[in-house]
């Protein structure tokens, strides 16, 4: 299991290859990459700054992953979340899960993303032509996370 909170970009291909190469029992790898969009809520996004709560972030991600491992038959998992200043098209987050079978890999990957969105202490601030603004939490993210309870 790899969990990283970092300023540096990550190499999606290298991360996925490393994850599946660790075990020849892997039959399925499901992955999600979240990226900065150039337009959000109708406004042009110049840069986005990601703040987090050092210590609690890593702890809460580990708890989310552990919960997924209890629910599905997983082989391994990688979660990388960037912090600091990002630009449109930059990758923000990678969640990748391996399993013998695809159903487990897909479900766990989506579960981890839904919980990351609602439980891990990250906050996004966008620079738009009208000034800086904190991104508002979405009700749809809470609903997505509630599906799993």
């Amino acid at each position: 299991m790899k969990i990283a909170v970092q300023r540096e970009p990550f190499d999606t291909g290298a991360e996925l290859d490393a994850l599946s190469a660790r075990n020849p029992a892997v039959g399925a790898l499901a992955a999600f990459v979240g990226l900065v969009r150039d337009v959000n809520e109708g406004a042009q996004v110049g840069t986005m700054t990601l703040e987090h709560y050092p210590g609690m972030t890593e702890k809460s991600i580990a708890a989310i992953v552990e919960e997924a491992q209890g629910r599905w038959q997983l082989i391994d998992c990688t979660v990388i979340h960037r912090i600091g200043e990002l630009r449109p098209a930059d990758r923000i987050v990678l969640v990748a899960v391996t399993s013998a079978h695809r159903g487990d890999a897909f479900a766990a990957c989506e579960f981890i993303m839904d919980y990351l969105k609602t439980r891990a202490p990250f906050w996004k601030k966008e620079q738009t032509p009208e000034g800086a603004r904190w991104v508002e939490a979405r009700a749809s993210d809470d609903q997505a996370a509630e599906r799993w309870t």
Binding site: M56, K59, V93, K117, W123, W134, E136, A137
Partner: protein, 85 residues
């Protein structure tokens, strides 16, 4: 008793402080009581911790409700709903 308070994101910007060490008065032994204490500072504190405003609390890096207790040395953080991922 002494606790460490942390403020993140829009809450930090509102109150203008990232962290502080605070000696809690007797009678402030829960998260809810601590929030009332901070609100009573008035001004931007009152706005940041206003009744209708959603501010989450974590005690020692775990989400805590208003009725959760606070103990000496606790790290107590206040922040808006998360928006990562």
């Amino acid at each position: 008793m002494k606790v460490k308070l942390l403020y993140f994101a829009s809450v930090r910007e509102h109150v203008g402080v990232a962290s502080e060490d605070l000696e809690l008065p007797d009678g402030v032994r829960t998260v809810g009581a601590l929030r009332t204490l901070l609100r009573a500072r008035g001004g931007s504190w009152q706005t940041a911790f206003a009744e209708g405003r959603v501010v989450r609390t974590a005690v020692n890096q775990s989400i805590a409700k208003a009725e959760a207790g606070v103990a000496p040395g606790d790290e107590i953080a206040f922040f808006p709903p998360v928006t990562g991922g």
